[in-house]
């Protein structure tokens, strides 16, 4: 079959369709977004009826995927690492209920925080839930592991996690696809109470999960070929390399003709026999893993000082951040021949608002309205509007997790801060802001909620927003007094009236919502381009409007 050039994300998506998945659920988040987008943009998805719509957040996505698995069909749910925090409840519990149709949880971690608030390592969640974790080292493995993962999931009737990292998600290489499988038919679980986690049932289900742990380890040890022990002559040092880190190690070892034992880890639970062999045969072992030192900690045991093990914890490799071939070279004692240094004339170029972005005008109005109250009163959230934290705006004081602006503003208001303001995007609001607003309404906490409604999920590339066309109704439904739901148009020419509206609502001692609505400039430009190509026919391709 023809080789394809695919991003790691795309390889996962293509494999899902080839392996007969019936649905993919996701909420956008870098670096996982392109998985869903690949399916949505494929002609196959609609032809074969593969469900592929964005969910309101990662929790709803995970639960919907679990529901599809319940029917006996194969389902996939995708998210970025912090999305798994939101979906942690269904994730942990799906390990207890188990699954029916193959159920894959694809999580893309972002070491070095290229586009994230932290660099948490999802392998811990896999270990926590006691489910297998597959960690591909390249695009082909990303593809193959989806096939294998579905089978593993169905064999043990438990969820399987596939852990990607930014560098693999967003790196392209050739992938050789397999022949496509048919989707599964509906076949409900044989035990009608499998998914009923009443304590008595849950205890049994948990015992089942515990009972398969040795089998899962055997799978990692012998049944699958993803974990490989390669012998080498030079036993002064051996290497354990996890996932993508294996490539960096190979790059350096090939370039320098090194011949040491290497254990490649791409499947968890860890294969303990292979680990025993390499640690017993080598004078010391360097553990190279992308993310937190999970394997290293396990090998070190307690106390953590262990002369034989090196890695991120003893400074052999950096404690934080994404790895690269140069880190690995240094850890192997190999000199790096760096090119010329970056001259001081080069300045940092942080991301910034697009020219013509409505968020700019929203912030300019807010900044002027807040002048009389002084700084430190604006909680915010995650999205393009977080750039309001940077100069020249310096307009926001927090960005923690999706939805936290509303609830933090509430807490501060409850403490007596007035005005207490939050700035949140439309997609973030329906992801996790709504429930916090309900709290504020119920407690009559005096906050001003400014929703930057650009009618899209901007930061991640302009996916449809669950909020579009619904914000006023949602707020009314949650109990916000209609007189205090204001719509403003964030344009320079409306600056004066927008400032007045904001000031009025800041003075109000109850919950008020101001919706600053203007379509994302990127979406507008994309739409205009499309209209130019296809005319005004709204039924044209790309759902990505």
């Amino acid at each position: 079959m023809e080789k394809l050039m695919l991003l790691g994300d795309e390889a996962v998506a293509k494999a899902g369709m080839d392996a007969g998945m019936s649905g993919i659920y996701a909420y956008p988040g870098t670096p996982s977004t392109e998985i869903m987008e690949y399916v949505q943009n494929s002609e196959r998805a609609s032809a074969e009826g593969i469900f592929c719509q964005w969910s309101a957040n990662e929790k709803t996505a995970m639960e919907a995927a679990l529901g599809m698995s319940y029917t006996g069909k194969r389902a996939m749910v995708c998210m970025k690492h912090v999305g798994l925090n939101v979906a942690a409840d269904p994730f942990m519990n799906s390990a207890i209920t188990g699954v029916n149709g193959g159920f894959l949880v694809i999580v893309a971690d972002d070491p070095s925080m290229h586009s994230s608030q932290n660099e948490q390592d999802s392998r811990y969640y896999g270990k926590f839930a006691m489910v297998p974790v597959l960690e591909p080292s390249n695009q082909q493995e990303s593809y193959d592991m989806v096939f294998y993962g579905f089978e593993l999931s169905e064999k043990y009737r438990i969820p399987v996690m596939v852990r990607l990292t930014t560098r693999l998600s967003h790196s392209r290489s050739s992938v050789k696809p397999e022949a496509s499988r048919e989707q599964k038919k509906i076949l409900l679980p044989s035990d009608p109470r499998q998914f009923v986690l009443l304590p008595a049932i849950a205890r049994n289900r948990y015992k089942y999960l515990l009972s398969v742990q040795t089998d899962l380890e055997r799978e990692s040890e012998i049944s699958s070929s993803f974990n490989k022990l390669l012998d080498g002559k030079d036993k002064s040092v051996g290497f354990i390399a996890c996932g993508l880190a294996y490539n960096y190690l190979m790059e350096i070892m090939n370039d320098h003709e090194m011949d040491n034992p290497v254990l490649k880890i791409s499947q968890y639970p860890l294969p303990s026999e292979k680990i025993e062999i390499i640690t017993a045969n080598c004078n010391k072992v360097v553990v190279i893993e992308e993310g937190y030192p999970l394997v290293e900690e396990m090998l070190r045991g307690f106390p953590v000082v262990n002369e034989k093990i090196e890695g991120r914890l003893d400074g052999t490799l950096p404690r934080d951040g994404e790895l690269n071939p140069d880190h690995v070279a240094k850890a192997l004692g190999i000199a790096v021949n760096e090119g010329p240094p970056v001259p001081p004339v080069v300045k940092n170029r942080p991301p910034s608002f697009c020219a013509g972005c409505g968020h700019i005008d929203m912030f300019n109005a807010l900044i002027q309205a807040m002048e009389r109250y002084g700084p430190g009163r604006v909680f915010s959230d995650i999205g393009c509007y977080t750039l309001g934290a940077l100069p020249p705006y310096d307009a926001i004081n927090s960005c923690v997790d999706m939805g936290a602006s509303v609830t933090m503003a509430k807490g501060a208001a409850d403490a007596g801060l007035h005005p207490s303001v939050c700035v949140i995007g439309d997609s973030t609001f329906t992801h996790s802001g709504m429930t916090g607003l309900l709290d504020a309404v119920n407690d009559i906490s005096p906050i001003t909620v400014l929703i930057g409604d650009n009618c899209t999920t901007g930061m991640t590339g302009g996916q449809e927003s669950s909020a579009t066309g619904r914000l006023e109704d949602i707020c009314i439904g949650l109990g916000v007094v209609p007189d205090h739901i204001k719509l403003i148009n964030p344009l320079k020419k409306h600056h004066g009236e927008n400032v007045d509206t904001i000031i009025k609502e800041l003075e109000y001692k109850g919950v008020s919502v101001i919706i600053a609505r203007r379509e994302c400039i990127q979406v507008t430009m994309r739409r205009k381009k499309q209209e130019k190509t296809y005319g005004n026919n709204r039924n044209q391709p790309s759902r990505k409007i």
Partner: protein, 193 residues
């Protein structure tokens, strides 16, 4: 044979199209290829780069080690300097001169050009001007690709074919303009070698 290329620019300048063309040409030439891209936050006007690795043997790392790039190809002058630590001893830096000044402390362009001139192997192209001259101001990225073709170990014909294939989806006219841009960039740098 191994060619490591860092492609640099500012989010929104179309560096991924450059990478896609080289990548397609590499595959058509039967070579191995890995190409890491930047998606996400930095695409909002931040510094972006793509690591493109081409080889007749299998490639391990998606990232280029420091000091190994045969070519730094930049569509923005200041950005070209950001990746000097990756440039190999005999590597080439090929850059556009038109600055993207979306930061308040953007340095004096002359200072940047002086730094670039101090490098052993460099090609400086006013790609925006060349693109305007051929009547396709938006094709400056293809001008830059053209200017870099002498340093990419792939037959020029294959690169032309890739550009044609990539842009013909948008219409023959667009494909022709981009081919023109490619040729104009190529002749501008070839004449200086």
């Amino acid at each position: 044979m191994k060619t490591d290329i860092v492609i640099a620019g500012v989010g929104g300048q179309g560096i991924l199209s450059i990478a896609a063309c080289i990548g397609m040409a590499a595959i058509e030439s039967g070579l191995h290829m890995k190409q890491s891209e930047v998606h996400g936050m930095s695409q909002r006007g931040g510094a972006v780069q793509s690591n493109l690795r081409i080889s007749d043997r299998e490639i391990a790392s998606d990232l280029i080690p420091l000091g190994k790039a045969k070519l730094v190809l930049s569509v923005e002058p200041m950005e070209s300097l950001r990746y000097l630590p990756w440039l190999s001893e005999n590597g080439w830096l090929v850059t556009n001169t038109t600055p993207v000044k979306n930061i308040t402390n953007y340095p004096d362009t002359e200072e940047i050009i002086t730094e670039i001139r101090s490098l052993k192997n460099h090609i400086i192209v006013d790609a925006d001007k060349l693109a305007r001259e051929i009547g396709s101001p938006r094709s400056s990225n293809m001008v830059m690709l053209g200017a870099a073709t002498p340093f990419i170990n792939i037959g020029y014909d294959e690169i032309e074919k890739a550009v044609k294939r990539l842009f013909s989806k948008k219409g023959d006219n667009i494909a022709d303009l981009n081919l023109k841009a490619l040729r104009s960039g190529r002749s501008s740098s070839s004449s200086r070698l």
